[in-house]
Symmetry: C2
Subunit: 457 residues, 2 copies
Amino acid sequence: MSQFSKTFQRFTSTYTSKSIPSKAHHHVPIPDSAFPKGYLLNGIHAGVKKKPDVLDVGVILSQRPASVAACFTRNAFKAAPVIVSQEVLEKGGGRARGIVVNSGCANAVTGTQGMQDAWAMVRATDVLLEEPPSDGHSETLVMSTGVIGQTLPIAKILAGIKSLSTSQLGSGFDAWERAAQAFMTTDTFPKLRARTFTIRGKEFRLAGMDKGAGMIHPDMGPPSTPAQLHATLLGCILTDASVSPRSLQTALTYAVDRSFNSISVDGDMSTNDTIIVMANGAAAEGLPEIDEASDREAYEVFKEELTSFAADLAKLVVRDGEGATKFVTISVEGAANYADAHKVASRISTSALVKTALFGEDANWGRILAATGSIPLSTPLDPTRVSVSFVPIDGTAPLPLLVNGEPEKVDEARASQIIGQEDLEIRVELGLGAESAKYWTCDFSYEYVRINGDYRT
Amino acid sequence: MSQFSKTFQRFTSTYTSKSIPSKAHHHVPIPDSAFPKGYLLNGIHAGVKKKPDVLDVGVILSQRPASVAACFTRNAFKAAPVIVSQEVLEKGGGRARGIVVNSGCANAVTGTQGMQDAWAMVRATDVLLEEPPSDGHSETLVMSTGVIGQTLPIAKILAGIKSLSTSQLGSGFDAWERAAQAFMTTDTFPKLRARTFTIRGKEFRLAGMDKGAGMIHPDMGPPSTPAQLHATLLGCILTDASVSPRSLQTALTYAVDRSFNSISVDGDMSTNDTIIVMANGAAAEGLPEIDEASDREAYEVFKEELTSFAADLAKLVVRDGEGATKFVTISVEGAANYADAHKVASRISTSALVKTALFGEDANWGRILAATGSIPLSTPLDPTRVSVSFVPIDGTAPLPLLVNGEPEKVDEARASQIIGQEDLEIRVELGLGAESAKYWTCDFSYEYVRINGDYRT
């Protein structure tokens, strides 16, 4: 009996940890000219959050009619803003001009009051549009993030939106940055990116912002899916290209599967997850709308740009995951099909044992293997064909840990060197086919436990 | 930009936590007379573990021919002892007499050497049987637990088994306790229980032991299932009733679904999970074997006793989960079918956000709801029918948090009082039918991160 009484001596009540790396440098200034044309934005402190000067309401307006598409969480518990946004999207036939967002309160599981509040935010933002819709329909989509089960301080929010007359909206970096800040909850930096792309020599711009931190394991589908949500991943992507609503939705659905639906911070799916894309054609004067049916080549270029840009935004969420000290790419290759590859990558990404080993910088490939083997696949695994390696991001040679099911004699010093970096890739080769998938995940630290053991207080 | 630079001030490198409650009192002495007759056991220090005097090899022998049944992990990566045990079980037609176990090394992903070592353990134990099998077949099942990817120190283990001549095996509490101790890895107490049950006035005994701590989210099936494993849940249950091999397997499969397959510590499925049951009939002299086909009534009594006893053993694993400060029962009621109820209970049990909220004693029912809604069910959820409550274990009234989809005005003091207890039940009513399922889980603490961020070193 002395064996287990001794064991208790290891329980102390203080845990000392390496510190969480600062992530502030991932927020970078962007030249005003890099942002898509024809959008006005701002972010303000309306008073949802207690701390003064912390931005909590953001508004994004297109100065022209725009196509819009969205993906929403598949959670069975839809937050009010999700239900309302889906309705606006449907009734508008894929056309809308406004986006309003608040942080600090998710307006989820808030019953009738929550629905009224979400509609009130939409209507207050409609009024800010250059020619407000007059026939009773709305052109604004709404997003909320924060605590579940509390109603919004709606009077404060409406007063805040009202104060945003056109003169207080902007189109330069400052305005985009303030809007991005209004999305933040436990995020430690605003997530804002822009890029330029070219179709047949004509230049267009994409800009986007998102937020995450916790309750991040999205599974979002287009609104035709029984979309149901209560989520903490919010994002929007704006472009000055012109794209038909139908092709915008198809491209977004494809992009979201390979970006936001391929990240995990803690494996928990939110009730509010929403990604909105808007295309206002401000740089496409005189050009036809990009559409898959009429010009497949232009559509493919746009779809690939959107997917790659969405992945950039999604990775920022993982980079800033609650308590994260590591940014880890999980590459699953040699699968019989994409769904199998995606499933395995998702399972490894959510394994508490893999994630704590990453935090501890322990090259424990056995846990990677156990996670890999723990889910049923359409084509069953053959252990003798599975290989696992660590891939350093500095371009030096990968380190094989397991080759065709047999453990390698691992150079532990080299393994520690690779896993000691902030960025790391874990590659799993299944040996069953030619399909692959990537997932992006982070580690599991004391800080994650602290943040989430003490979130509401 | 000042917003997020300020945010970084909250990152410190020291975390102070309430201490992990001592669990030593869950190990209790058991009178010698409570153990099933006809078994001899011991546990020794063979040297798999470095610390002297820590037991790491255990042996359990039936003095009579016995029926045996087992459930193995469904992980695609089977550890060598799992493959070997399955073969012994099959070739023996459900008859066996010996069990040998080691802790400290899982003998998983160890290739040809691993298979040889597992067979060597089996054969060395066969020799200890009263009339060793002589026709080349084996009557011993083998289990291993510990680090993955390292080969066993097989010479030490074989020498240890050899030293266990009959005179050093016992049948009283001391012997059972030493065998239970040999199962332990990060467990803080040996898990050993016994009970008596009666069929038609005749008394029989059940005793069992198990181990867990981490990599605990078993999904085990009978060997006819493509059973595949690499696990850290090991257990065995011994009885002196007489049961046919076929009915013993049927009863065990039913029991495991409602016990070991309904617990989670960290959501990770092991490659070695194994539960073995042995029935030697030592107290059934002159009575026929219990069999479902010939005597359904006796079979049902046995099955229910086995299920309830297996649940007792399974709960001990959760109680002693790595870093656990809480023991939480997740009850899902009103489901359309058992599979849906079990799925929802499993999802809530593995939610990192629910588990960290439990650690932080935060009555954050929104996270329970988000987890509930995050998986597809055969009968889709209707949010307006879902209710959630906390059920205190002291018999006082449950505290409703959500009723038919509407949040209650919660008495936070009362909620804190309930969640402040070590034991707690979370009840989720789906309002879709009459089926229910229970899961047992624990919280997610700094200590879990510490143990698993630093396991191999």
